[in-house]
């Protein structure tokens, strides 16, 4: 019976993993076939792979292949122009290298395009050679399919995900079964032994329950012990009560749900955007500032969808629903808020300010100035805000208590080098304290009035 059970199990696991492998094989085959196609096409003109690189460097800010952006969609642009407008490659060379010149010269189609796209002339690219343009055109004619990587990643993800789930459950189930079997075996053995003993005439005497005082009674009778434990209990509860009360009003780890799921991990982590690019007022103001939506649109005018990171979404991401579609949806929320009409690449003028939930709430009676810390002291944002570049959901990293501030002021040296303001005061103070480096506290950074007014 045992053997049967195991055999079933084995076959199940085997079957499942076979199935999985086979699907991933299929996926890879598909990918391979598309790649082949791509290579075929690119062989005709320029080098599509090189073209892609050039396209991303020079064109992607204003053009996409399959949709209108600041400029028109460029998929198959060469063929389209040849068919619809009867324009040849030469026209394209001239246009790309000197579009304003063409508009000036009054070229019909150039003027038409110029008028159609809000009279914003395309930047001239005189540095691109004809070969470069060929490469780009090759890429636009048959772009190496981007989804390949994603598809593989998806498949790999699915595989990892499913196999992981099954193996865990099965292993756990198997273990439980093994233990149950062991217990049953133990009982069986015990019974067998007992029967053998009975058969041999051995009498098993039960231990006599002695008349002992129960332990709780003994405890209750020992008054010293009661006193000690009472004191201990009181102290312990006081300790915990104090600990609990001290955290009242401290929101460390506060990670509210925001109206738009903005991932610092993607922006600051994966794409390595500098913190102060968006939070620019941290340099000059007391507020770090939540970036206004026009700052978002600097990039998101051209980044209209989320394409995922090269390694593919992790299992956690998938579990949390952070799929590419999800992120793209969040970008659409941004468009709605800022009033961006994707179709026509225009602002509609109907905007809806985003009501972010404020995470770091310093009380009104505490004055904090970002620029003092960021610009003057050169403190890294992460010192107080934690590993923001790893935060999918932003949370409050530091306790923001006065003790926390004060500790840092005691320990941190003032960055006096190259700052003329500190010159005189630094020499005199270091003489006074007999130290080489000055902490913020030595500069008077612990005085009440420096933060409370």
């Amino acid at each position: 019976m045992k053997k049967v059970l195991y055999r079933h199990l084995f076959s199940k696991v085997l079957g499942f993993s076979l199935l999985l492998f086979s699907t991933s094989f299929y996926a890879q085959e598909e990918a391979a076939s598309t790649e082949v196609v791509a290579e075929d096409v690119s062989a005709a003109g320029g080098d599509a792979a090189k073209g892609k690189q050039l396209f991303n460097q020079n064109c992607a800010a204003c053009h996409a292949l399959d949709r209108k952006m600041t400029g028109p969609a460029l998929a198959n642009v060469e063929a389209r122009l040849a068919e619809d407008e009867g324009l040849d490659k030469e026209w394209l060379y001239t246009w790309i290298k000197n579009s304003p010149g063409m508009i000036k010269s009054g070229d019909a189609y150039a003027v038409k395009i110029y008028a159609e796209y809000n009279q914003a002339a395309m930047t001239a690219f005189p540095t691109l050679s004809d070969a470069d343009i060929d490469d780009i055109l090759a890429y636009t004619a048959a772009p190496p399919p981007a989804p390949v990587v994603a598809a593989v990643a998806d498949a790999a993800g699915a595989q990892g995900d499913s196999s992981g789930g099954i193996s865990n459950e099965i292993i756990l189930g198997a273990l439980a079964l093994v233990f149950a079997l062991l217990v049953i075996m133990l009982i069986l053995v015990n019974n067998t032994l007992r029967r053998i003993a009975e058969a041999n005439g051995v009498i098993l005497e039960k231990e006599k329950a002695q008349e002992r005082t129960p332990i709780w009674k003994a405890f209750a009778q020992n008054q010293f012990l009661v006193l000690v434990s009472a004191i201990f209990l009181l102290l312990a509860s006081a300790y915990f009560a104090y600990g609990w009360m001290m955290q009242v009003g401290i929101d460390q780890g506060y990670a509210p749900v925001q109206p738009i799921h903005y991932s610092h991990k993607i922006h600051a982590g994966d794409n390595k955007i500098e913190c102060k690019y968006c939070h620019s007022s941290a340099r000059v103001s007391k507020h770090s500032g939540i970036p206004s939506l026009n700052v978002c649109m600097n990039c998101h005018k051209s980044i209209y969808e989320y394409k995922g990171n090269p390694e593919g979404p992790s299992a956690d991401d998938i579990a949390n629903g952070y799929t590419n579609e999800f992120y793209t949806g969040e970008i659409k929320k941004l468009y709605k808020a800022v009033g961006w009409d994707e179709e026509n690449q225009k602002y509609t003028g109907e905007s809806q300010p985003v009501e972010w939930v404020r995470i770091h709430n310093l009380p009104d009676f505490a004055y904090f100035n970002h620029s003092q810390h960021v610009s003057v002291a050169g403190v890294e944002c992460q010192t107080c805000h934690g590993p923001v570049e790893e935060m999918e959901v932003m949370y409050q990293f530091a306790p923001l208590t006065m003790g926390w501030c004060i500790n840092c002021h005691r320990e941190t040296n003032v960055k006096v080098e190259g700052n003329e303001y500190y010159e005189a005061i630094h020499t005199e103070l270091s003489k006074k304290y007999g130290v080489d480096k000055l902490t913020a506290a030595m500069m008077g950074g612990l005085e009440c009035g420096k933060c409370h007014y």
């Binding site: 206004s292 026009n294 300010p353 972010w356 303001y421 005061i425 420096k450």
Partner: protein
């Protein structure tokens, strides 16, 4: 040994038969408790399924729930801009140069804005003329956020669209043009080249029947007309008091609103002794004005006496006999004439008498003297009101000759003495429209109300003085659906230009002379070089001279009529207060709570009377048990007009037989109930004459004043306000007039500043910054701009009349005013020093009692007092929670969140500068001022806490400003220059009385001032070592 004593609890127990005793043995109460009575509805109660236990469960649960819920912080939202304007960085203030020209106040100013909200007014130091903001201008930023503002146009009380309003007005204008009826514009003084041009174009558009009437609520008619006669231009002469060695003023309150005001800077600069010299100021006046309080020699005189004295002075200077016989004023005139002769062209004479003869004579005297301080070539345009035209307009209206009446910046129904006639006439006008800020008396009487923009929401320009231009730009978009008159006029003329474009065109064409518009806009001011006009000028001058020759005849007649002035009964002087002006900002709680510099009374106007007159009328002022000042009511009758229930203040220095009453109060319409204070003096302003013949009688009842200063005199304590005369200052050693107090140690007298006299260890303050504030009592005029600036900068709450009366005022900075009880403070000191024993003629009991009363014509001294930031602060040592502590930079710091409100510090403070929050002053309907509504809260400075109930607060030496200066320097990586450190009060002080800075910077102005001989500390003998110091007041009492 058991005792057989029987104890009884009440007498009743002695009687064994008492039923109550029996009942009490059984029950706790003798009668059934009437539970039903206080529980109410018994039926409902018994029907309820909630029993006592359930109730307790609910109570327990809800208490616990509330406790737990309280531990959770609220969810705060943070809403960024959708498109952030590139000039706005949240948390960083922007400054814009603009101009206030509201018809009463004219100044070039800077507006501080935070996140687009104007929050403070600063002086424009680029401006050479009128670059300083007085108390009213400082407070005008709060008027922007007045919750009673008119928020949109209306017709007959019904809201209406601007479009419809425009059509109806245009219809009215066309109808009037066709019918030949008058189109009248009744406006404030603009002094605006663009507006003048615009009105001229409007005239051209709607024909010659357009009549523009400028109207100043407080008229300067006489001065304008006199100047017009003498110099051919309806304007006001300008005076530079800095150049004057001798200033003789016949009732001119030139530190107040006289001829548009703005003279305090130049006056104060001349008052500081430099190289042994300072100006001398003689004042002849009836009421005790701010100017009179600053005078070296003050003669209380009725207006009649002033006129006679003026005529006689002219005679003396001119060497002619003007007649008039002998009078009481002769000695004064004799002395003044001698001094003027000695001063020669350094002397200047001014008068505030609204009498064309007096004004003509004064112009003639200054011309005769060739006074250096007297400028007629570049006159001032800040008053243009023409009361004759106003009177004619009212007549025209009543005759039905006016088709359209457009009013802007005026409130004639309130401010005209014959306002009943005006209202009657208004009914006969076909179309009347008032550009109103509040729904005031005139707005309520007009058919159409056009919601007017605040000056901080408007474009504009002004020419205060010939060649000195100023630009106004909006610092915020219109908060409501409002418009300025000029925009509306452009619209009604069918122009599609904005007023901004119009100004720009005007300036490019007429003002800028090739200069850059953007530069002018950034600076806010533009001084035209007069060079091209010189030829024209000289022509004019020669023409003027001819006129002057001609006008000799008028002068002779002027003198004659002045000398022959007589008066019957009492004379009433109508004046304007520093805090209220003509009352256009009466709805501003900062100004209502601003204590008058002289009487120190807030939230009121009152009739001032001399002590002698008060005694004869059996009137008195007295303090009641809670310290509040009480006084009688009076009934004033002027020419049949009766003003009832006027509170009476007995004013030291008031000339006998005269009374004073200030304008600007008694407004009722469009006001918050709390702000509708005082009585309307305009109703007595017959003929636009500020001197009226009046009869006064005592009325029933007692008035409760809100006066912030209970004690009027110094009681001979000359070390509080140290003063000396110019003669002593110049000739004697510093120890004689500014001695450091001595204390006894081991029976040896040592100066209190010596380290031996110190109980405490001295901190090393030589490193870093060490802030000090210097206050020069010579140049402080007591104007109070600093008080309001402090209010605005530090979010000081308004507490209302009742609280002020209880001495719970919250002003961080007060300006103490002291009177001498003898002729001078010097004599006070002598009297105190000569006291001997308790009783007798020289006894201190009687002596001090006498010294509590101010003299009939006392010397006056002002002293701004704020936290002195003592290095050895008595407040710091008594705080049980260390909420107040000392910073290395010299500031005495106050951590509000640490304060538990014991008020020990306030009790231990020798300067009494700490203020306690007795109540919650924001979001509290009991204190319905600006901090109780969202609009009013927009003025709050985001860098300073709004304090809550139960905490102490006080002057912080604007630590938010010093910290910002330091941070800016650190960020730029540079050392701090002298003059960069400022406090709200020092930057508001245009007279230079308050100077702030770092004394560790040895090159700085403040370090120099600290080493000055005149430097002393307030109550130095206490040994508190303050970081605020004063400069000894020097009076120029040299006779001739």
């Amino acid at each position: 040994m058991a005792s057989n004593k029987k104890y009884w609890k009440s007498e009743a127990e002695l009687n064994p038969n008492d039923s109550i005793v029996e009942a009490l043995k059984q029950n706790e109460f003798t009668e059934q408790i009437p539970v039903d009575e206080f529980l109410g509805d018994k039926e409902n109660l018994s029907a309820s399924t909630t029993n006592r236990r359930d109730f307790l469960k609910y109570v327990g649960f809800s208490t616990a729930a509330a406790t737990v819920a309280a531990c959770e912080g609220p969810v705060r939202k943070s809403i960024p801009y959708v498109v952030q304007p590139d000039r706005i960085v949240p948390g960083v203030a922007n400054y814009y140069a603009t101009t206030i020209a509201d018809g009463h106040d004219f100044a070039s100013i800077l507006v501080k804005t935070r996140e687009g909200r104007p929050i403070k007014i600063e002086n424009n130091t680029e401006a050479k003329v009128s670059g300083s903001a007085n108390a009213r201008v400082q407070a005008s930023v709060l008027s922007l956020y007045d919750s009673t503002r008119v928020q949109g146009p209306s017709a007959n009380g019904e809201p209406i669209e601007w479009k419809d309003l425009d059509n109806r007005i245009k219809g009215g204008l066309t109808a009037a043009k066709n019918s030949g009826k008058q189109i009248a514009l009744l406006t404030q003084t603009y002094a605006s080249p663009s507006t003048d041009k615009l009105i001229a174009e409007f005239k051209a558009n709607y024909g010659e029947n357009v009549n523009h009437v400028s109207y100043d609520a407080i008229s300067e008619d006489a001065a304008l007309n006199a100047f017009n006669t003498a110099y051919g231009e309806r304007a006001l002469p300008d005076y530079d008091f800095e150049k004057a060695g001798l200033i003789v003023s016949f009732g001119a309150d030139f530190l107040g609103d006289w001829q548009g005001g703005g003279y305090d800077d130049s006056y104060a600069r001349g008052r500081v002794p430099k190289h042994g010299k300072m100006s001398k100021h003689i004042q002849l006046e009836s009421i005790m004005s701010l100017t009179g309080a600053n005078a070296d020699k003050r003669y209380p005189m009725s207006p009649t006496e002033q006129k006679i004295a003026l005529a006689k002075l002219y005679g003396k200077l001119n060497g002619s006999n003007v007649g008039g016989g002998t009078s009481d004023v002769d000695p004064a005139v004799e002395s003044i004439a001698a001094q003027i002769r000695k001063a020669g062209s350094k002397a200047v004479v001014v008068t505030g008498l609204n009498d064309i003869n007096a004004q003509t004579v004064v112009l003639a005297i200054n011309k005769l003297l060739a006074s250096e301080a007297f400028d007629t070539e570049n006159p001032r345009y800040v008053r243009q009101g023409d009361s004759a035209k106003v009177t004619k307009l009212v007549a025209d209206m009543n005759a039905g000759r006016v088709g359209v009446l457009i009013m802007d910046g005026v409130n004639p129904v309130y401010s005209l003495p014959n306002s009943a006639d005006f209202v009657a006439g208004l009914d006969k006008v076909d179309v009347s429209i008032s550009f109103a800020f509040n729904n005031d008396e005139t707005a309520q009487a007009s058919k159409y109300v056009a919601a007017a923009s605040h000056y901080l929401e408007s474009w504009g320009d002004a020419q205060f003085k010939k060649g000195h231009y100023s630009l106004a730009q909006p610092a915020i978009r219109e908060l409501f659906d409002t418009r300025q008159l000029q925009t509306a006029l452009l619209n009604w003329m069918g122009s599609d230009k904005t007023y901004y474009e119009y100004i720009k065109e005007t300036w490019s064409a007429e003002v800028l002379q090739e200069s850059d518009w953007n530069k002018a806009l950034q600076d806010g001011v533009f001084a035209a070089s007069i060079a091209p006009e010189v030829n024209e000028e000289s022509l004019e001058v020669s023409a003027d001279e001819e006129e002057v020759q001609e006008s000799i005849v008028p002068i002779a007649s002027a003198i004659r009529s002045l000398v022959n002035t007589t008066s019957s009964g009492k004379e009433l002087i109508l004046y304007s207060k520093v805090g209220m002006g003509d009352g256009r900002q009466a709805n501003n709680p900062w100004l209502q709570e601003f204590p008058d510099p002289i009487t120190r009374v807030s939230w009121d106007n009152y009739v001032t009377i001399s002590k002698a007159d008060a005694e004869s009328l059996d009137m008195e002022n007295y303090n009641v048990a809670d310290g509040g000042l009480n006084g009688n009511y009076a009934r004033l009758t002027v020419d049949g007009m009766v003003l009832d229930n006027v509170p009476v203040i007995i004013q030291p220095g008031q000339a006998p037989n005269t009374l004073g009453l200030s304008f600007g109060y008694g407004k009722q319409a469009g006001m918050k109930a709390e702000m509708a204070t005082g009585v309307n003096a305009f109703s007595l302003y017959g003929n636009f004459n500020n001197v009226q013949s009046v009869s006064i009688e005592k009325a029933e009842g007692t008035h409760e004043f809100a006066c912030v200063q209970l004690h009027k005199t110094l009681m001979g304590r000359g070390d509080i306000i140290k003063e000396t005369t110019l003669e002593i200052f110049n000739t004697k050693d510093v120890h004689e007039w500014n001695e450091v107090p001595h204390v006894s140690k081991d029976h040896q007298e040592i100066p209190v500043t010596s380290p031996d006299a110190d109980l405490w260890q001295e901190f090393d303050r030589s490193i870093g910054h060490h802030f000090n504030l210097s206050i020069d009592l010579n140049s402080c005029t007591g104007c109070g701009a600093c008080v309001i600036a402090c209010h605005a900068e530090n979010n000081v709450p308004v507490v209302g009349k009742e609280e002020i009366r209880k001495s719970r005022d919250m002003h961080w900075l007060r300006i103490d005013r002291y009177y001498s009880s003898e002729e001078s403070f010097e004599q006070d000191n002598e009297k105190k020093d000569s006291m001997d024993g308790l009783w007798g003629d020289n006894g201190s009991l009687g002596g001090f009692r006498e010294m509590e009363d101010a003299a009939a014509n006392p010397q006056v001294a002002f002293q701004p007092v704020m936290c002195q930031h003592c290095n050895h602060a008595p407040c710091e040592t008594v705080c049980p929670v260390a909420a107040t502590s000392h910073g290395r930079q010299g500031q005495n710091q106050m951590a509000y969140n640490r304060c538990v409100g014991t008020r020990y510090c306030a009790n231990n403070c020798p300067y009494k500068v700490r203020r306690f929050n007795w109540f919650l002053y924001y979001d509290n309907d009991e204190f319905d001022y600006n901090m109780n509504n969202d609009l009013g809260k927009m003025v709050i400075n985001p860098d300073v806490n709004v304090r809550s109930r139960g905490v102490m607060e006080k002057c912080s030496m604007c630590i938010q400003m010093t910290q910002k200066t330091i941070l800016d320097a650190k960020r730029d990586g540079r050392a701090i220059k002298d003059g960069e450190f400022q406090t709200a009060c020092s930057s508001a002080c245009s007279s230079g009385a308050m100077v702030f800075g770092d004394i560790n910077d040895k090159e700085s102005k403040i370090a120099e001032l600290k080493d000055d001989d005149r430097m002393y500390h307030l109550l130095e003998h206490v040994g508190t070592k303050p970081n605020v110091f004063y400069h000894v007041k020097v009076r120029n009492t040299d006779e001739a």
